[in-house]
Amino acid sequence: MEIRKIRNLVLFLAVFLGACATSPGPAPGGSHEVETRVRQPAQQDSAGVQVFPLENPAVTELLADASAAESSGRYEQASMLLERALRIQPRNPEILQNLAEVQLQVRDYEQALNFASRSYDLGPRVGEICSRNWRTISVSREHLGDHRGSVEAEQRAKSCMITKPEGL
């Protein structure tokens, strides 16, 4: 029994570590950053609350395609699909933020910053997308050398979740 357990553990570790070895190299800094510094914390902030439901099926289709392109590293294709979606809904904060995140991954920090700001202007300014907006702005500013601005943006991201009723 014991031996079997150990054997299983060894096998498991072998497979597990093997998977590490064959994983497609280190992920590019940009895409790693988007996951760990923008999407995951924003999702935690909002506990999965989607503020802006997508209604247009054409946009939904394009966003799904863009997301697939993005996760396979075809960023140019993802941008083109998102731009097509923007032609349908030019003021959709979700599309704008997705574009900002693609730009973060190709390290075009200036445009990432601009698209995230635009998304914030047009978006709900609370909730998950607000948090993604400010976290993208924060990461971009950091790369652009604006450290104070980056910290400030990080703070703004946290306040996306605080909805203070006015007059209190």
Binding site: N56, P57, A58, D121, G167
Partner: protein, 783 residues
């Protein structure tokens, strides 16, 4: 000549030399001479021809015209378009209306349902196959899109873009290359059956063919058949001039033999299919079956049916003589002869041939692209292309140029301008007015339409791009924008003086601008001064914000204005083109996110490889919150200011923002306006700068209104960016107030510019509203 004459005289001098053996000697010498010539001339000559044939044939790259495409029309439920828009887009993209849709390139309609069979196309972002679907359009938008095969809803599809222009090679040849494996088999075999039955077997020159042709010609008494093989015909077109000399015939034969010796039959046939002359479109020669198929049938070659293939094969004999558009009877006769030959050689069954012969020619009445369709817009495309490409590449590389043009909007803009100027003449304005219109997508800066002449088909001076005219009051909003950025000094209800102002000019003279109604209006708010376009108030405000600040702001908005920093700039004494004015207003319409206006989205090679893409790039302006406040003020120009009559002209009550502009002596009329989705500029004036009797609202605004009457539009978004907010204030005093109080209006303020004082009503309301929120949140607990 002299030698020949000498010979003759020698002959005459020695008439009586009888000896036979002498003749033998002469023949022998002649033989030797010929051998010498052969070795000395023919061998090097053949070597030379051989070199020509191999280098030319292998290195041959046809000069291919570049194709310019409109934007593809996205079709999805909710897409803004009318039924007429969709039909127009289909026609411009070369779709044919039929009763029953059975093949790509066709559509039919029944009521508000349009059935479309889309062609396969390589879009900018990838190839998409044929698609057969139904679109239902109600009112201003698409209601549903469903597949014909199974009735399933399609979330999103698109029409392939219309080809709006070609940029041709200098030798004026038009051509679409085809590969032999993509050519219908009947065309490949049929061409041989008609032109060169022995093609598969002869070595380039067909002695039997020549004999047969000679016999046939002898029988007929005149030339009815040619003995040239396809290879010879190709050689003739490829390498040689068209003169009919013996030397050329000899060269042709030698080169044909050489070509066959070096290359296989498929290569030669493919070259022939792309080279043969098949028609003329104005100055451009149509070469090859690929383009001919598009030119005559508006279909890709692969989709041609038997009777259409037969027509093209028949036309090889004489493309102008058998021109099916000009000489349909002759062409039909020839086609039917070809069909009979197809049957005789077993390519078609007699029944098939007969059925095909019974059909009409089915050529389109006129070629789809009659040269360039939207001259002014294509002009802009060429200008933007010239920044990246050499003229030569555009003419020869067969580039695929994707643009932002919307054919339906371009047609509307052209019509609005042409019709509008005729109407203005009927209202008593000059008959020789000219104009320009630029229409762009607000958020992406993509130019959807551009018109630079009242006659859209007249090439030449493109006023939308090149006419530099004073802009008048169209510049004023920037003065107010600069003021709104000074949060300690100005908000929309801050009062300024609209009183006479006299300024010393650099040349010593005095400049004292008048208002349009020649009156001064005293104490007015910024909002009033802007919406009613008061000159004196604007100059006074301008002096506070500074003329250099105004000029550098224009620059920041993406336009370089070369003008002296004098106060008259506040009233628009600065010359800009309609395109530049559109650029400035795009930034305002997009609440401070500037996008350089683009007419291009991508350029690809003939094979679809991307050479350059023009992605959407945002350039944020500083003080976007002030732009948000200005945005509101510009809607008030239409609501209650100088553009008050616009909604009636547009025939719809939609929130629109805009500004009129008139210049000294009524030389120029401008109107700039925007909605959530479109920004557009209209300009009217005379080319010679003479007074034209026009004002912003009596001329350009009518054209703008007529255009937007026909466009599906969305109201301006009045939301302000972070750093500004809407407040309830008393319209008269500018003090804080509250909803429901007498005279209370809700207008936006840049943070820090809001009033501190409060009206009595406002104060009470504020208190009670605080209480109500308290109650709302904690009321239950209290109870």
């Amino acid at each position: 000549m002299t030698k020949a004459r000498k010979k003759k005289t020698t002959k005459k001098r020695k008439p009586a030399v009888p000896a036979k053996n002498r003749w033998g000697g002469r023949l022998w010498r002649l033989f030797l001479l010929l051998c010498g010539i052969s070795l000395g001339v023919l061998v090097p000559w053949t070597a030379y021809l051989n070199h020509q044939v191999t280098t030319e044939f292998e290195g041959r790259k046809w000069d291919l015209p570049s194709r310019v495409y409109a934007r593809p029309l996205a079709v999805y439920p909710g897409a803004l378009m009318t039924l007429d828009d969709l039909l127009l887009e289909l026609r411009v993209a070369g779709y044919r209306e039929t009763a029953r849709v059975s093949q790509p390139g066709q559509f039919s309609r029944q009521g508000s349902t349009v059935e479309i069979y889309r062609r396969a196309f390589r879009f900018q972002d990838g190839r998409e196959g044929e698609q057969h679907f139904r679109v239902v359009v109600t009112g201003q938008s698409v209601k549903s899109v469903t597949a014909v095969s199974n009735g399933q809803e399609l979330g999103l599809t698109r029409l392939e873009p219309a080809e709006i222009a070609s940029i041709y090679p200098l030798q004026k040849e038009d051509r679409t290359l085809v590969r032999i494996e993509d050519v219908p088999p009947l065309l490949v075999t049929g061409l041989q059956a008609i032109e060169d039955r022995n093609f598969k077997h002869h070595p380039g020159v067909d002695m039997r063919g020549i004999a047969r042709a000679a016999l046939a010609n002898l029988k007929a008494g005149h030339a009815v058949q040619g003995g040239s093989t396809l290879t010879q015909q190709l050689v003739k077109n490829y390498f040689l001039s068209h003169e009919r000399t013996l030397l050329r015939k000899v060269n042709e034969a030698i080169m044909a033999l050489l070509l066959e010796a070096h290359y296989d039959k498929a290569d030669i046939l493919q070259a022939y299919l792309n080279e043969v002359f098949l028609g003329q479109q104005g100055a451009y020669a149509v070469h090859g079956f690929g383009r001919a198929s598009e030119f005559y049938f508006d279909q890709p070659l692969q989709q041609l049916q038997e009777h259409e293939v037969a027509l093209l094969v028949g036309m090889v004999k004489g493309a102008s003589y058998y021109n099916p558009r000009r000489n349909p009877e002759r062409a039909t006769q020839r086609r039917n002869q070809v069909l009979a030959d197809f049957a005789e050689t077993g390519l078609l069954t007699p029944a098939e041939a007969e059925a095909a012969a019974a059909r009409g020619l089915d050529v389109t009445p006129s070629p789809r692209t009659r040269g360039t369709r939207y001259l002014s817009f294509v002009d802009l495309v060429r200008r933007q292309l010239a920044q990246v490409y050499q003229e030569d590449d555009l003419r020869t590389e067969g580039l695929r140029i994707f643009t932002t043009l919307s054919p339906s909007e371009q047609e509307k803009a052209q019509q609005a301008l042409s019709k509008g100027l005729v109407d203005l003449a009927q209202r008593g304005l000059p008959t020789d007015l000219q104009g320009a219109v630029v229409l762009a997508d607000t958020a992406s800066g993509e130019v959807r339409a551009l018109v630079g002449d009242r006659d859209p088909n007249r090439p030449g001076f493109n006023r939308a791009i090149h006419a530099r005219r004073q802009v008048g009051s169209v510049i004023k909003p920037l003065v107010y924008l600069l003021a709104l950025e000074h949060v300690n000094d100005y908000n929309l209800l801050t009062r300024i003086e609209d009183e006479a102002v006299a300024l010393k000019q650099p040349d010593g003279s005095t400049w004292s601008p008048q208002n349009f109604d020649n009156r001064s209006h005293g104490n007015v708010t910024l909002l009033e001064a802007l919406t009613r376009s008061y000159n004196q108030a604007t100059v006074r405000l301008g002096l506070e914000v500074g003329v250099n600040q105004l000029l550098s702001r224009i620059e920041q908005l993406g336009v370089s204005a070369e003008v002296d920093a004098v106060p008259s700039v506040f009233l628009g004494a600065v010359e800009l083109t309609p395109l530049e004015v559109t650029q400035i207003y795009q930034s305002i319409a997009n609440t401070g996110f500037s996008v350089p206006l683009r007419s291009l989205t991508a350029v690809q090679t003939a094979n679809g490889e991307e050479l350059v893409r023009y992605p959407l790039r945002l350039m944020p302006q500083a003080h976007r919150e002030a732009i948000g406040v200005l945005n509101y003020a510009l809607t008030q120009v239409v609501e209650q200011g100088t553009a008050k009559s616009l909604p009636a002209q547009m025939g719809k009550q939609v929130t629109v923002a805009g500004k009129t502009g008139t210049t000294n002596d009524r030389r120029d009329s401008w109107f700039v306006g925007y909605t959530r989705n479109r920004v557009a500029v209209a300009w009217v004036g005379k080319d010679d700068f003479s007074p034209a009797g026009v004002t912003g609202s009596n001329a350009a605004m009518r054209i703008w209104g007529e255009l937007f009457r026909q466009l599906p539009i969305e109201p301006v978004d009045l939301r302000v960016p972070d750093g500004a907010q809407y407040l309830w204030v008393d319209g008269q005093s500018g003090r804080l107030s509250a909803e429901g109080c007498a005279g209370a209006i809700q207008i936006p303020y840049v943070d820090g510019s809001e009033p501190l004082d409060m009206t009595a009503c406002g104060a009470t309301a504020q208190d009670s509203s605080k209480e109500s929120i308290w109650k709302k949140w904690f009321g239950n607990k209290k109870n």
